[in-house]
Each structure stands twice: as structure tokens, then as C-alpha cells.
């Protein structure tokens, strides 16, 4: 039995469900509505035991071999008992879990994750987190062009600042802001799925290509095998089975790594390139 937890109108969830159905997998799909009606009796030990039940149909935990989860967001501290129970199962089930909830937590603190990426041997952009306008202006002066982006997992539009924009940095005094040196180059999103990887090159003049509108060209690309294996190891070191890794390749052939996304919205890239990412995830989930 494979549990897929997420909204049907979330494309990665629906694509993984389709891929699993194509493969004849035994699936239970949970979305927010079904989670709220979920019955459960679970005891935590070295591994969890007990059952969950949907529509009075009991599913013993020892029959669940894999879980794919992209649950709808809930506010910190406001998880319902059912979501807390499911997160606990996903944390400790002896099976394939894409991904364990704790493994993705570092992505909720971007600079914390960036430090881990640097410690894993990848180049990362010089980064300052500050509420000090003077320190922010000095950072901008030093690097001439910087990007500012959110620190937490809440998505924000990445924006650039040039030295002419120094006055705008007085706004940092009201809350912490993350500034990074602008790195010129081509964006790459590499989706790691178990031991496999799918590299996508993105060309755009926008600071944040996700909001580049029509000014974007996406194509499947190849990366060096050794580099791909390093990305697999980086993913594994974060405790993840699947990740969307954001990189940039500079004109000097230097790689910079920005982020390891533990719950990647891979369909944006899959739809543009035809890379079989959902199929690879389905294969991984059925591996057990």
C-alpha cells in the first residue's frame, strides 16, 4: 500500500498518483478533507504500529510500504491530531517516505540550509542576514549587485538591488532580510530521485525565473556524472530521497548551489522538458 498525501489540484501530487496508477500500485489518497475524517489508533515504539482508517476501511500500518507527501500548509503549531498522527507515521515508518518531514525542515531556514550546503563542499553565494541598514549598504557596496529574498520557507519573489538602490536598504531595520551576492550565469534545477537525476537548464533575464513570464527558455540538459553523484550525496545527506536542487553555472564554469528543495514542484520542469520525474518518483515509491 502506498499513501499519497496532498491535494489533487497540486500538479506533483496528481502526476505521482497518475504514475502510480499506470503502474498498478495499490494507493490510498489523502487530501485535507479526507485527513480531517481520518480515524486512527497508532502506537509509537521503535517503529509505529496500529492502523489508520478511511471510510471505515482500516489500513494496518505494517501494510503501508511507502508514503508520498505534499500536504497543504498549516500554520505552525496548529496541526490537527490527524495531521500530527500522519506526520509522526511519515517520520518513523519503516518504508520509503518522500520525504521524511524532519528532513525537509532545513529548507524552512534558507541560510541555515545554505551553511549545510557549503559544509557539503558546494560553493554558495556570500550571504548576509541583517536588520542593520549600514551593514546591508556595505554588503551591497562590496558586491555591487545583490539579491534579497526570504529567510523562511515562505515563497517570496527574489529581487535584485544595484548600488543605486542603496537607499532602499533602510527598510531592513523592521525585520531580518537575507542578502546574497548576485551570481551571473545559467540557472539549473536538478531533480534528484533516489540515485537518479534530471537536470534542467533555464535561461531568463529575470532575477527570479519563476516570475519571468514569457522571458524564459527551459530545456533538459546533461550534467557531469560525478557532479550528479555529488548532488545525490547532498540529497541523501539532508535525509531526502527526492529533492529539487537550485544551481547556477557561471560563465567561468563555476557551480553555485542555492537551495535544496525537499518538496519540489517538479511538474513545471517536467511539463516543459518531458523528463519523467513523476514516473521516477513512482518507481522509487514502489521499490519496497
Amino acid at each position: 500500500m502506498i499513501v499519497v498525501w496532498g491535494a489533487l489540484d497540486d500538479p506533483p501530487v496528481s502526476d505521482v498518483l497518475d504514475a502510480l496508477r499506470t503502474r498498478g500500485a495499490n494507493i490510498v489518497h489523502l487530501d485535507r478533507t479526507r485527513v480531517e475524517t481520518l480515524d486512527f489508533d497508532v502506537t509509537l515504539g521503535k517503529t509505529p504500529s496500529g492502523w489508520i482508517a478511511l471510510d471505515e476501511h482500516r489500513i494496518p500500518l505494517d501494510t503501508i510500504s511507502a508514503i508520498y507527501l505534499r500536504p497543504e500548509a498549516h500554520r505552525v503549531g496548529c496541526a490537527t491530531p490527524a495531521t500530527a498522527c500522519l506526520l509522526t507515521i511519515a517520520s518513523s515508518l519503516d518504508g520509503v517516505v518522500v520525504n521524511r518531514p524532519a528532513a525537509g525542515r532545513s529548507n524552512l531556514t534558507k541560510p541555515f540550509q545554505l551553511a549545510a550546503i557549503a559544509e557539503a563542499g558546494f560553493a554558495v553565494p556570500p550571504t548576509l542576514v541583517t536588520t542593520d541598514p549600514l551593514a546591508a549598504r556595505q554588503f551591497l557596496e562590496r558586491h555591487r549587485r545583490v539579491v534579497y529574498k526570504s529567510i523562511s520557507g515562505i515563497r517570496s519573489i527574489v529581487a535584485t538591488l544595484d548600488v543605486d538602490d542603496a537607499d532602499r536598504l533602510s527598510g531592513v531595520r523592521t525585520g531580518p532580510v537575507q542578502l546574497q551576492r548576485w551570481i551571473a550565469g545559467i540557472d539549473l534545477r536538478v531533480h534528484v530521485v533516489g540515485e537518479r537525476w534530471f537536470a534542467t537548464a533555464i535561461k531568463s533575464t529575470a532575477a527570479d525565473y519563476r516570475y519571468g513570464g514569457s522571458d524564459i527558455a527551459i530545456a533538459a540538459t546533461e550534467i557531469d556524472g560525478e557532479f550528479g553523484e555529488r548532488l545525490v550525496r547532498l540529497t541523501a545527506s539532508a535525509g531526502l530521497l527526492v529533492a529539487g536542487i537550485d544551481l547556477r553555472l557561471t560563465p567561468n564554469d563555476e557551480w553555485f548551489c542555492f537551495e535544496v528543495n525537499p518538496s519540489p514542484g517538479f511538474t513545471f520542469y517536467e511539463d516543459a522538458t518531458g523528463q519523467p520525474i513523476a514516473a521516477a518518483i513512482a518507481d522509487l515509491l514502489m521499490k519496497c
Binding site: P81, L128, T131, D132, G175
Partner: protein, 223 residues
């Protein structure tokens, strides 16, 4: 200087500030004050804002963490529309700061989490089982009710010291589990059958536990 990271509304945090030597409270409001500087490359030049005062990280000897996150409701000087976003940003920033400071942090960031979030049951239960501790079953049941335990004993671990009324064997087991979890301060609660029931870092420290905390937080890296 010892920094207690917590809420101004947390009486335990406030009493710890009064009891610990050269201690001050770093509250949610401080996280949105000008003065913080934390660079990924050179954490040695980092600066805190503690009780509205800018403090060099080199002046901070120890940090005691009394929160798992910053709540939007704490940011009263922020426009209500921005509080949720700023609370998430402040929490993320705090995790980064606590993972980079050269001061000793009790308890350290684990998996990007703070406080009791870092020692949630799915974390301590398997580790306790691996160490051979007997566990009281922790059951999640829809509509389940909490059954207060008639009799419990507690071992409060502060680094290598143990306080509380648990018998020596359970105190030793608690110390071992604390080390396995990577926590410096935690209370381990056992039921009448000597089974481990709960682990928490949010229990207020007793006077002797507080003295031990003061000792390890007063000098950098406990030395």
C-alpha cells in the same frame, strides 16, 4: 553574557534572566529591531540585539532557548497583515543565529528545529528503544483522552549533571539518552513502572538545575 531566548510573556524566561548571572532576554521584538548582523562567511563578526541593545556575538557566552518558534501575535509593533510572514522569517532567522553563534546553545538546533520541536517523540522514542529503555506506549487515537499518571519520577539532565527524584538507574539512562539526542537540558519523565513517558526541554529548571545551567552558560563552550 547569557542570553535567554524567549517571550516577554514567559514567566520562566523572565525568572531565568533574574536568576542567571549577567543574563538578558532576547524577545520576539528584538528580532525585528535594527542591529542584527549575521554573515554566512564570517560568524565571528556577528551581532545580536538583546533587550533592545546591540551585542557582539563574542560577548555572548551561552544561550538558553525557551521557544520553538516566534508567533505572529508576539509582533505587536508590526502591521497585522505582515505578522505571519515576519514571524516565519524571525523563526528562520533565529534558527540560523542559534546554529552559527560561537556561544554554547542549550539546547542546540537539531534538524533546523528549536525547543521541544527538536526532541519530538519520533526523535526520542526510537533512540530510547535503541538504548534499551522501557517505553510507555505513546498512543495517537482519534477522540483519545489524556490520562494523568498517578505517580511519576523525573530525571532532569543538565549536561553531565542529573537532578530530580528518579532512581539512579533511570538517571543514568536519562543522561545517556540526552547525549544520544544531542540535548544539554531536558526533563525525562518515568511512570510508576519505570517506563519513559515524556521528554521535554520546556519544564522550568529547578534551583539546582538553574545553577548548573548558569555554570555551563557563563563561559564560552562550557570551558
Amino acid at each position: 553574557m547569557i542570553v535567554v531566548v524567549g517571550s516577554r510573556h514567559d514567566s520562566v524566561a523572565r525568572s531565568m534572566v533574574r536568576a542567571l548571572p549577567r543574563a538578558a532576554l532576547c524577545a520576539a521584538e528584538d528580532l525585528t529591531c535594527p542591529g542584527w548582523v549575521w554573515s554566512l562567511a564570517s560568524p565571528e563578526h556577528s551581532r545580536w540585539v538583546v533587550d533592545r541593545t546591540v551585542i557582539d556575538d563574542r560577548e555572548v557566552t551561552g544561550v538558553f532557548v525557551r521557544r520553538s518558534c516566534v508567533y505572529p501575535e508576539e509582533l505587536v509593533s508590526t502591521h497585522p497583515d505582515d505578522r505571519e510572514f515576519l514571524a516565519a522569517e524571525s523563526t528562520a532567522f533565529l534558527v540560523f543565529v542559534l546554529s552559527r553563534t560561537a556561544a554554547r546553545v542549550v539546547n542546540p538546533v537539531i534538524d533546523g528545529l528549536l525547543g521541544d520541536d527538536a526532541i519530538r517523540p519520533e526523535q526520542w522514542i526510537p533512540k530510547a528503544a535503541e538504548l534499551g529503555l522501557t517505553l510507555a506506549p505513546l498512543r495517537f487515537k482519534r477522540g483519545g483522552t489524556l490520562c494523568p499518571l498517578a505517580r511519576t519520577t523525573t530525571a532532569v539532565v543538565v549536561d553531565v549533571d542529573v537532578f530530580g527524584d528518579a532512581p539512579p538507574q533511570l538517571r543514568a539512562a536519562a543522561t545517556e539518552l540526552a547525549a544520544a539526542l544531542g540535548v544539554v537540558y531536558a526533563a525525562f519523565v518515568f511512570d510508576g513502572e519505570r517506563r519513559l513517558v515524556a521528554v521535554s526541554a520546556s519544564r522550568p529548571p529547578s534551583a539546582p538545575a538553574l545553577a548548573a545551567l548558569g555554570s555551563i552558560l557563563s563561559t564560552r563552550n562550557g570551558t
